[in-house]
Amino acid sequence: MRPLHFIPLLFMLGTTVPAAAQTTLRLRGSDTLGAKLLPQMAEAFKKQAGKVSFDIAAEGSSTAFTNLLTDSAEIGMSSRKVKPDEGAEFRLKGRDLREFEIAWDVIVIIVNKDNPVSDLKKKQVLQIFTGDIRDWSEVGGNPGMISIYTRNTSSGTYKDFMELAMKKREYGTNSQKMAGNEQIAAEVGANPHGIGYLGLAYAHAKGTKIVTIDGAIPSTADVKKYPYARPTFLYTNGEPTGRTREFIDFCYSPVGEAIVTKVGFVPKSRAK
């Protein structure tokens, strides 16, 4: 019987020893946060704190809560507040869900600077990007077909914009998918009939001008009044401790806020 005792022992050696030496933080949830912001944050945190590894899977905000409930994540990422029914499920199980607002996501609409249109209604933006409105004269501009420049499908902003501005409808077939913010800015700057959207960090590009939405100006000073801005959150089960606490504190540190800005979000401390 003696040799059999080794087997569980070997298993324990195989599993517990590395886990004790290094903590793994499992992050689950929103694509918006999980695509760029948190991976970059995690890299920077690893450099600073060492001996920690991350396992990030971004499959949509609702997976943040399902994973937290089953303890298969330490941190949930969400681009919306927890829904009442989700919160109820946590309370039912005696869990204490904690919320951390980490950044604001702001998308700016730009047009060519020679375009007389400088304000659009939310409905008009929706109709333009879905291809219902095809001509600038329909929104009070000079006649001419609208050229729409969007991010490509792999970008988080592509999907965010659908949720924020397009009621989840598809982009019109007349939209052109550009590689990045800079390319959108360059094309809108060169095309008097162009329209596009950008992260706030890229908004002041040559030859373009920012369109106000129902009169609201997108700026860090006025984020909360602007329709295409939304807060993003991290959630934890109970008050975070240990590495989880350190990581969340890191997100609010100056280094963390610099990363938030670089990725095109507005840090919570600057969003008013």
Binding site: G140, M162, T173, Q176, N191
Partner: protein
Amino acid sequence: MKDPASTSRPSVGSLLLKSQRRVVLGLEKQRAIRLFFAATSSVAVIVLVLIMLFLLREGMDFLPTYRHELEIYRRAGLEFCDILDRPLAGHQQLCSKLRRAASASLNTITHTARSRRDAAYEQMREVEEATSLQHLALSEALAQVPPAAPDELTRLRQEMHEAALAATAALPQPAVLTAAEAQQLKQELALLGPEVTDLPHLLAALSTDYIRVDMDAHAAFKPLVDAVEAFEAAPDKLHALIDEMKKHASETKARVTEIQNTVGGRPHAEPVDFARSITPLTDRIPELNAKAGEYALLAQQAAAALPAQAGTPQATEFLADMRAQLPAHLAAMREAAAGLAAWNFQKPVSYIDVIIAFFFGDAWITNSSWQDFFGFVPLLAGSVLIALIAVLIATPVSVVAAIYTNQFASEREQEFIKPVIEFIQAIPSVVLGFIGISLLGDAIKGVSEWSWLQWVPGFPIQERLNMFNAACLLALMAVPTMYSLAEDALNNVPRAFIDASDALGATKLQTVFCVIVPAARSGIAAAVLLGLGRVIGETMVVLLVAGNRIAIPDFSAGPGVIFQPAHTLTGIIAQELGEVSRGSAHWQALFMVGIVLFVISLLINWCARAFVRSFERFKS
């Protein structure tokens, strides 16, 4: 010949013995070398087979995966919602025409007031832009806690004012404003700053002026404006109903995907009962029919209320267009509504349906919140059209260059031209892409705006990034291949043909165009085909320059279609493969696109080889 040293050399026998020692694994040296070379060349074959197997393995799963997705699309009722939603999109096309007609009509009255207001706003923006630094510094100082020192504020205010003065001084006088107005505007704009919250008086006056005129215009075109609004609002109830149903269908779909993702995970997750979840949708057929009928009625009423004449001839034309297209749209709606009852959520999705959906689908929609569709036609159309334009440009250039260097050029010219053309091949395609974005795009756009070129179809062009731009660069990339091959083909024309032609007294030109070129034509055809193969597989240039619009090019534009943007087979793989999750339908769809590209390239190469072979037969 014997010399003393020869005694120290090993004997013939020992040499033979030595070579015997080199036998490794029963192979002698010669054989081993031969095998090594054979193995190396067979690596190429093996790699090719492996690539094909890999592509097939990843891509072939696409059909079952996509079939499964389309099955869910049907079972969960998403397809049911789309039955009416699809044709309803036509309503917006008609609305667009009406809005344009209304806008053009109103513009006849509001034009002056609007351009005066816009010119003034434009000037304010320019001043604001020029003074943005000073503006920021002053507003930060004002917001400071504790407040900044008074002289500091005075200094910043002074700077702000000076900057605004300098900016206003540089403003040109807009043609639509009188000299006095322009002067007043300048004075008012010079006072701009963070502490000024009111709009400058002139701007406010121009704005109210515009609003007044706009109201007059609306009154003047009241029947038109009202009819347009009525037409826009006609499908509101139908839309609301469909949206409600869509929500239900989406929820069913979300439940299905959730269960799939947690295979064996949650014990309480029951399989979705489609029959039960579909009834709330199918129960609504009478309601849908009623709302669709109501929409048709309202739309017809609105159309009937449209005035015969709008403000401008073009606007009247829009109205006529709309009236002509309305019956077809309403017929499509009626047909769709009739199809509602026949729709069955249990109808199986066959592989043939899937193949048709892929190879003949006209929409490539990915990362959608509703349903992903992988229709291949828009991408194929873009790729083929770009490749054809590129070959059309490259063929004359390379063939003419080949004929010239082969037949007419002096030796020194040949030594110069050949390496230069072949050097083009060395330019990395991403560099060409940059040239396309930064130089060629602007150049083509600039040329298209020249007034004496306006007879060219498609001019002036709107997009810098378009198929023609990409095709020009691809043509440049194809020229070296095509040139070299065409030159070889000309070289291979038997000497006897030329001699015979000379002997019959033909001139040089006659020999070239009546003997050499016809004799080399299959070789030249092979060169063109291989150029086409090179072009259709190119990725970087089309990704950067073709404009990436996923839609079948609008051929109604005539030859001007080449100035539209498009997306391509290669471009879509490069753009989307990076971030799709492995094994998903999207991933597999991209591999299917890869397989099709591979097959196209193989076919082109095979054709080219067939041409070359026929050429060789002809020679012998």
